[in-house]
Symmetry: C2
Subunit: 371 residues, 2 copies
């Protein structure tokens, strides 16, 4: 964005992580932001952090002008009610929300007969493990997708206004039908979260000597299993239909695998059983290959250069200084630590054309490559 | 290991990745290694790479002395037969195998009335995405766990011999009952693999616009879904009982979640449903917390410092050079690329006591921190 326009006047309802971060981003971009929160402490904190001016009924400055856009950034289970209220309280403003589930909000608004021409739901694909105003960052949305989910009722002007604000915050715009959005996040976010939790839960009562065999694969699969149960209960229950459909399809494949293992358990040569297992792994190959690389590009097959890293301060610095000198751009980087080992194995992913020169350059500089 | 003893005379059956790597490691440690493979090309290749001398019946040097230890490193589905044959062919030697499933091998040997006093199964927790002798590395086992799975019949001398060889190859020894081993790898390796594949398979027929919303969470959960279906079919079918038990427990929890989502789909206030969802995520928290940190230590809570990285060659090098200058040791490092963004967000995990000085040092050097 070489020439970002000054953002419209925005009123933020709910000064948690997302609301505060948006206020910080828009204020920094020269925009005028007002803030409210059911907790006056939260609102005052967001104001003190520089996210905008407060308009809480219990004190603070009432904005001189009505907002052009109201952004409802409350927890998922109060989003619909707050949007309905905002549409009534600000009859000339466009309203958006930032909840991670979209259809449920629209259903409630439609039931209530709300003015849907002025509502354009949205979902910034940004978050942190920490929450609250104090975790807010002006650059939280930089380069992240911000999904707009207009309905057939939404006016083009409303869509445009939300697009302008999201762009001002540094986000990349994606437009999806609300139901398509919910189905998409069920597959790419909600089901992976739930399944990571279910896999991690198998470890809860495992013997120490068994858990000790955990490797990088398990670590990766279960990383997001550390997420907040309270937030995820709201998200999953808000997207119950779409998550259920994806889980049911997964459960059906899982049942097939269990039946195949049962068959192999009683007859090591059970016809068809190995075919079921191989197809399950192969379908995973095919799905995995569809995940886009960085920059929203088509899936990219990077070449991995593996480098042994002594476990001493400064060794990674030396590696990256050398990579910089060689002039290779790193696409992905992963550091693998095995059980009890005295050093790390760094996996450096580069575009295929760059692997040979990187390997040669690193070996010349004394690095031990590992394949 | 400050004073590694000279390894015993070892005969390797099967010169794939593991067999060749072991030959390379033991040769390098001053040991005497002989090699055989059903493919004379494979055996000759491993020999040419420096893994030992060949003893193929079709040519090569017959070892002057009988081996003290025979290591069967054939594919999982021929392991038991090769071990049985090795016990007969080398009546004075101890025999081990390196298959990732242990009980199935012992069952076959017991059926055949093999001499189990001279057999100590084992499983080096090391591997690569590539296979075959050419992918072999002398340092493949460095710092990795190598699980020994003796039975009550196994003689103490046999256990000691396998321990000595695994230690000579640089591995860290873990001893487990064979059934406990199989149950452990079912939970920490086989089920995570299968479930990652099942999650990734959901993406196979998803619209491009939906797959485009994929974030780091999905990438982590599905990374190992790129694994080889042929190998994994052998592993899963070889550990059918244990994998089945863990999957059945997971499927039962999954069914509970699906029923809760069903209930929420027809009644947004369904009693008990949110409790089921929250418990599933919370159990994942508890299981995740048990995964050990690196170096086999107890779980460590690292502090994450997030740094914005411009997407230009050399920037990571500059970062790591600065980290080296500040003197902080990096425990884990992860580079996160969002959709369409022009830069990366690096997550640098350090021990909690080091986070403040690292953050301060990086900011002094002009880095933009992100939380």
């Amino acid at each position: 964005m070489s020439e970002a326009p000054v953002p419209p006047r925005v009123h933020v309802v709910g000064t948690g992580l997302i609301g505060t971060s948006l206020g910080l981003a828009l204020t920094r971009a020269g925009g005028s932001v007002t803030l409210e929160d059911i907790s006056t402490t939260n609102a005052a904190l967001a104001r003190d952090l520089g996210a905008g001016e407060t308009t809480s009924p219990l004190g603070g400055t009432q904005a001189a002008e009505q907002p052009e856009l109201v952004v409802v950034a409350t927890p998922p289970d109060s989003t619909a009610a707050c949007v309905a209220s905002a549409l009534e309280r600000f009859p000339d403003a466009v309203v958006t929300d930032v909840a991670s589930v979209k259809v449920a909000v629209i259903d409630v608004l439609r039931e209530r007969g709300a003015d849907l021409t002025r509502f354009c739901g949205s979902h910034p694909m940004a978050g942190r493990e920490r929450s609250g105003a104090v975790a807010g960052r002006h650059d939280l949305f930089h380069g992240r997708a911000w999904v707009l989910t207009p309905t057939s009722e939404t006016s083009p002007a409303a869509v445009e206004l939300v697009r302008t604000v999201a762009t001002s915050a540094g986000a990349a715009i994606v437009t999806l039908d609300p139901a398509d959005h919910d189905a998409a996040v069920a597959s790419v976010s909600h089901v992976p979260q739930l399944v990571a939790s279910l896999v991690a839960a198998r470890l809860e009562h495992l013997a120490d000597s068994s858990v000790a065999l955990a490797g990088q694969g398990l670590r990766d699969v279960t990383r997001i299993a550390a997420s907040d149960p309270h937030l995820w209960t709201q998200i999953l229950s808000g997207n119950a239909h779409a998550v259920r459909d994806v889980l049911a399809s997964l459960a059906s494949d899982l049942d097939g695998v269990i039946r195949a293992l049962d068959a192999l358990g009683s007859d090591a040569d059970a016809p068809g059983a190995r075919g079921t297992l191989a197809r399950a792994i192969a379908a995973g190959n095919a799905g995995h290959a569809r995940i886009p690389g960085k920059h929203g590009a088509a899936p990219t097959a990077y070449t991995t250069v593996r480098v042994l890293i002594p476990d001493e301060p400064g060794q990674l610095g030396r590696l990256f200084a050398d990579v910089g000198e060689i002039g290779t751009n790193i696409e992905e980087f992963h550091l693998d630590h095995g059980l009890g080992q005295a050093f790390g194995l760094a996996e450096v992913d580069v575009v295929p054309g760059a692997a040979a020169s990187l390997s040669e350059g690193l070996e010349q500089r004394g690095w031990r490559l590992h394949g």
